[in-house]
Symmetry: C2
Subunit: 181 residues, 2 copies
């Protein structure tokens, strides 16, 4: 599953095969089929684990009780540390790009993940604005969508233009949110 997750982030759903994973583990492809009957099953399991992990984090008091500014820093750091610096992109973004060539079960997982990320970000932004820490116009739903879409896009952009661009985007978001006017 770790390998499948990496391949999904690095090459997309259509960009890897059972053989890639089997070779990396030095087993035969049938060994993968034993654990995950179909490729959809494998990808769905990866997505479910990814979602569960996120929910576990945000419901943990180490994150939940943080002030909004630090919560957001934590969120940004997920993208910075485990994605941009390793040339990976967000699972949601990766699968959305290939959406129309994906099995239905995997589309549902993609939708669910995106909703969950968006919901948490929206709550955090709202909380921060009410606390006077964040400053932005419009509603928190749109601002959350703006930030999430930008993080997704910036990870992809980092592929072509290097991680500096990604870091610049994150800093710009902080600037936009934190500086009053």
């Amino acid at each position: 599953m770790d390998l499948a997750e990496s391949f999904l982030q690095e090459r997309g759903f259509n960009g890897f095969s059972y053989a890639h994973i089997a070779d990396a583990l030095d087993v035969k492809n049938a060994a993968i089929h034993y654990h995950f009957r179909t490729k959809d099953d494998l990808a769905c399991a990866v997505m479910q684990r990814y979602r569960d992990r996120f929910q576990l984090w945000v419901n943990n008091s180490r994150i939940k009780d943080l002030p909004p500014g630090e919560k957001l820093d934590w969120f940004f750091s997920i993208y910075t540390n485990t994605r941009a610096d390793n040339g990976k992109v967000c699972l949601a973004g990766s699968l959305e790009t290939e959406f129309h060539s994906l099995p239905v079960s995997l589309r549902e997982q993609t939708e669910a993940l995106t909703c969950e990320l968006l919901a948490w970000l929206q709550d955090t932004l709202q909380e921060g604005r009410e606390a006077g820490v964040f400053h932005f116009g419009g509603d928190s739903v749109s601002k959350a969508a703006l930030i999430l879409s930008s993080l997704q896009g910036a990870l992809q952009m980092a592929r072509a233009l290097g991680t500096d661009k990604f870091h610049a985007v994150v800093e710009q978001h902080k600037q936009d949110l934190l500086v009053p006017a």
Copy 2:
């Protein structure tokens, strides 16, 4: 090339084959190979045409002489009309997602396109800020990267969550840029 462009935007480079195009045109796959020896050649030709088209537009006085606010509206409208409403994503975003599984020539095209989009957007933002129409902190390079990455990401997000989300992101960008404080 029109079909290849559509497939790239809808399914990604690894998500379509010569057979898809041949079937759609009711010819044999060898007919495609006659015009484009390899799949890389085809995709590169599509990218080159896409880039040329963009340069033609931005150098045309119908766009070049527009005030910054309307320039930006035009830029947003490319994404809204020809992508979000048809379930397509930006070519740059699509190829960046699969970057590590792409032939080198196609990676170079992807990088070039991203740079060109970014450069134009940066100039436009700078011009607008100097004219007092746009308001944002930080430098225009970062802000351009933020907006472009967000548009890319929002097109992908629209796949899973519908076009409403995309439109909300565009409105939020306008709000962020246009409202003084």
